[in-house]
Subunit: 244 residues, 2 copies
């Protein structure tokens, strides 16, 4: 129960992470482990904003609380404003109790964020609320309209992935081209031709090959590459569409 919350506006974060195989979303328990409600109710990380806080700052705050990370990629992608969105079930009661405020209508601003899954660390809150990664393909039922928020976030991510270099936020700094391809395939839900994919990627001037290879793999180690954001920004005037 924080000081000075604004009880009319909240922020919810759809945190995406890629485990090398499929896309995942970070979910937390509605109630901390030791609370009197040991129900399995799940939700997105999110909160009411503080009275004079910027929305993006609120989203960063929440993300840091649950992943330990700073400077996460964040994008506002929607507003969920149905006056009835909180009405069903006992979740509204829960919110009133938790915040200690008289909640009437809460408009929530949704952000998606992209994190390198193995950079995230455990925090007090991530432990207390059992923060866990769930594959996008099998998200359980969540409170309020959080399932719809995730659906919507995935659509936007799929669209924006085609025109912006978002994928590098999800991969390790040094990545193999085939990892990148698997990421695209996971998000777009289709399979791509490996030879054509490599050609396209290697043509991009802002992807730099390193003289360095994977270590400790039980087969031929792949060459590693880095994304050079400086070079990317220089070319950006040309509406560089990225991959199809």
């Amino acid at each position: 129960m924080k000081a000075d919350l604004n009880p009319h506006i909240s922020v919810d974060c759809v945190v995406f992470g890629f485990d090398g195989n499929e896309l995942n979303v970070l979910l937390i328990n509605r109630d901390p482990a030791d609370a009197s409600h040991p129900t399995g109710k799940l939700k997105l990380p999110g909160d009411l904003i503080i009275r004079s806080e910027m929305l993006a700052a609120a989203a960063q705050r929440i993300l840091t609380e649950f992943t330990g990370l700073h400077d996460i990629y964040l994008k506002q992608f929607g507003i969920f404003d149905d006056p009835q969105r909180l009405d069903s079930s006992d979740d509204l009661e829960w919110l009133r109790n938790r915040s200690g405020l008289s909640i009437e209508r809460v408009v929530t601003v949704a952000y998606y964020s992209l994190v390198k899954i193995n950079h995230s660390i455990q925090t007090d809150l991530s432990i207390a609320y059992h923060a866990c990664w769930y594959p996008c393909a099998s998200i359980p039922a969540l409170i309020f309209d959080h399932n719809r928020i995730i659906e919507n976030g995935m659509e936007v991510l799929r669209r924006e992935l085609l025109t912006e270099p978002l994928c590098f936020e999800l991969l390790p700094d040094k990545f193999a081209i085939n990892q990148l391809q698997r990421l695209y395939e996971a998000i777009l839900g289709c399979s791509l031709d490996n030879r054509n994919f490599r050609k396209k990627i290697q043509r991009l001037p802002y992807i730099e090959p390193l003289n360095e290879r994977q270590k400790g793999v039980p087969h031929k180690p792949a060459r590693l590459h880095v994304f050079d954001n400086e070079k990317y920004l220089l070319l950006k005037k040309d509406h560089t569409i990225f991959i199809l």
Copy 2:
């Protein structure tokens, strides 16, 4: 001063219209003509939302009040949430007086909308507030952060125009290909090759040529076309990118 406003959230509309030559935005006076403030202060059409109103409904309401039109194309494109966005000048005082509410922080949700400029009609409010079209290239200084909102809206429009058939919202139902081209040129700020443009458009299965021509022009009348939204939606799975 309306009943039951929510003093924390407002909606502002960037209404675009195309006059056949350049892109325009609808602006209104801050104060009605007969008010005690006959200053020339200008703003976007916008308002605080009603307590249990959907944001899109608020935007429609505002647009109908100022253009007489229903069923306008509307798209939410941003949120302006700086806690200081209202602080400068006397505009905050004005807002407090006008609404009769104790305003602290207002987060505004921005919509852009696209209208056929000559369909819009005069209404009580459009007259009282001197609603007028201003060319995007020469927008005067507006109150609050409304200039930034317009800038931002134009960027989003430019981007989305390339992947969605928005242009037909700005043109008459029956249009000539060259009108369409002038619209693209106006919004993208570049000139396009007429022959290639025609080919591209005529290849699109959802643009139907009519056996009908312009009337009353002092030169060869152009063939008219219509946009078939049904057909467009059927093809949409294919991520149909539109024009470059």
